[in-house]
């Protein structure tokens, strides 16, 4: 596979590093959710969610805990099933089960709050496993790609170690490399820095900002407003299973329109 443009499998972005990210041209719709509903028992956790993410867009989903933002993120690669509505990725409706679903998941990278590196495999094996077993890459090519990706997120010297020997920040960067190794069309981040010690948050955010600047389509559930301001094109504020507000990051953080968003921001900005 041609890697010359970018290891993410997408053409390198036109925008330069310094350009304000919200100004860059966005492509066609890549992820589309239409009237998506989900219940956890009596709790209506996703209520009629409509959301479109365009190619190259970086979307930050923010909101109080229990608002449904993680569920929304997990529903996009069907780690959570939905009750009704449709979710399409690159024009393809999310399949119910089986091979087709596995194929679609391979195109959607996922980074978890708790890293979830394969605990019995080395860092290098974590990154090569998907490309070898799902994409059918041979060992040499897969390892070459993996080392490049590990270098890119700054953990190239950890390739031979087991995940438990790494710090949280290093593990999460390996998890990003593992997801990128599948050359996904879109990357989902489910609170990627929430389980990290404070001093390790930035190394992960830096890797994410770099990824955003290369033009990767990203859906990021996070409370990191610095990241949202620096890298996001759009912020979606969720509360009680609904999308309450959508705005450009600056606009959202400085002049939120809804009472819920004002209330939420005042609580997280007090200190």
């Amino acid at each position: 596979m041609d890697q010359s443009t970018s290891t993410t499998g997408q053409p390198a972005a036109d925008n330069t590093v310094d350009a304000p990210t919200s100004d860059r041209a966005l492509g066609a719709p890549l992820v589309e959710l239409k009237s998506v509903n989900k219940h956890f028992g009596a709790l209506h956790v996703l209520q009629d969610i409509d959301l479109t993410v365009r190619k190259g867009e970086v979307l930050v989903v923010i909101g109080p805990s229990g608002s449904g933002k993680s569920t929304l993120c997990r529903a996009i690669n069907r780690l959570e099933t939905i009750d009704d509505g449709t979710i399409t990725v690159d024009g393809k409706t999310l399949p119910e089960e089986g091979k087709a679903l596995a194929q679609l998941r391979a195109e959607v990278g996922m980074v978890f709050q708790s890293f979830n590196l394969f605990a019995h495999k080395t860092v290098l094996d974590n990154v090569t496993l998907g490309p070898r077993k799902v994409r059918g890459l041979n060992k040499k090519d897969a390892e070459e790609q993996a080392r490049k990706l590990l270098d890119r997120v700054g953990v190239g010297n950890q390739a031979g170690k087991m995940p438990a020997q790494l710090s949280g920040g290093q593990q999460q960067r390996v998890a990003i490399a593992r997801a990128l190794a599948m050359q996904p069309k879109v990357m989902l981040f489910d609170e990627p820095t929430s389980a990290l010690d404070p001093e390790m948050v930035n190394e992960v955010l830096d890797a994410m900002v770099a990824l955003a600047q290369e033009g990767m389509t990203m859906i990021v559930v996070t409370h990191e407003m610095g990241f949202a301001r620096k890298a996001a094109d759009r912020v979606v504020f969720m509360a009680d299973g609904q999308i309450v507000e959508e705005a450009a990051p600056e606009e959202f953080f400085t002049a939120p329109k809804s009472e819920r968003a004002r209330d939420f921001l005042s609580k997280i900005l007090t200190h």
């Binding site: 605990a119 019995h120 998907g130 593992r178 599948m182």
Partner: protein
């Protein structure tokens, strides 16, 4: 005193005690091998996304775990061989031996399945989610991610099952494997009741000597193989 010792010595030479133990070791070896394969398959069924397979696996475990081994062994001879006329070898001895191995295997597979399932429970859900997220479907995810960690988490309960299997191999007597330890012991006592305690002691100590290393080995292995998280 000399008469006593030489009498006991003659008795132990008259009967093939070591050979009897060797038979139980062989029963255990083959029984464990088949039980491990069958138990792994059952565990896969029980964690699979297909409801009918989960049901079939659970039903198997319920039936075989809750049936006394003696009944299964007797059934292997009376039911499988005599009534259904299924023969596993041409000569009597091999046939009974293999019937006993199958009986031991189908019974202990239920326990192996549950031991592996307890191992699966030591694997955090996030491991399966990460496997699915990179596009692995159920079987590859189970083979590459879940089971390798589950086996390592199940070393101690699997060791316990192996110990139980070794001791339960004496129930092969119920499947007409008359040259194994418990049958040999009974015959020896029957003809030499004056050495009752000594004969008991020989067989009991023999099993303790066999079982203790298994326990030590699996405890050591379960520590060594534990997945660090």
């Amino acid at each position: 005193m000399n008469d006593y010792l030489s009498g006991l010595g003659a008795l132990l030479q008259q009967y093939d005690v070591l050979g009897a133990f060797w038979t139980n070791i062989q029963l255990t070896f083959w029984g464990a091998l088949i039980a491990l394969a069958l138990g792994t398959l059952l565990a896969l069924m029980r964690i699979s996304p297909i409801a009918s397979l989960r049901w079939a696996g659970a039903t198997y475990v319920s039936i075989f775990r809750n049936t006394p081994l003696t009944i299964i062994m007797t059934f292997m001879v009376m039911g499988v061989w005599t009534a259904l006329q299924i023969q596993l070898a041409d000569n009597f001895e091999d046939n009974f031996f293999r019937l006993a191995v199958v009986g031991l295997a189908v019974y202990h597979a239920a326990f192996v399945c549950e031991a592996i399932r307890s191992g699966v429970n030591t694997v955090p859900l996030g491991q399966a989610e990460a496997a699915r997220a990179i596009g692995l479907s159920f079987l590859p995810a189970a083979r590459l991610i879940i089971l390798p960690q589950a086996f390592r988490g199940a070393t101690a309960p699997l060791g316990n099952t192996l110990i139980a299997l070794l001791k339960n191999s004496t129930v092969a007597a119920a499947a007409s494997v008359s040259w194994e330890t418990s049958s040999t012991m009974k015959t020896m006592i029957e003809f030499n009741p004056n050495y009752l305690w000594e004969i008991f002691a020989v067989f009991a100590i023999g099993y303790v000597i066999l079982v203790i290393p298994i326990g030590l080995l699996t405890t050591w292995l379960s520590r060594r193989l534990a997945v660090k998280r």
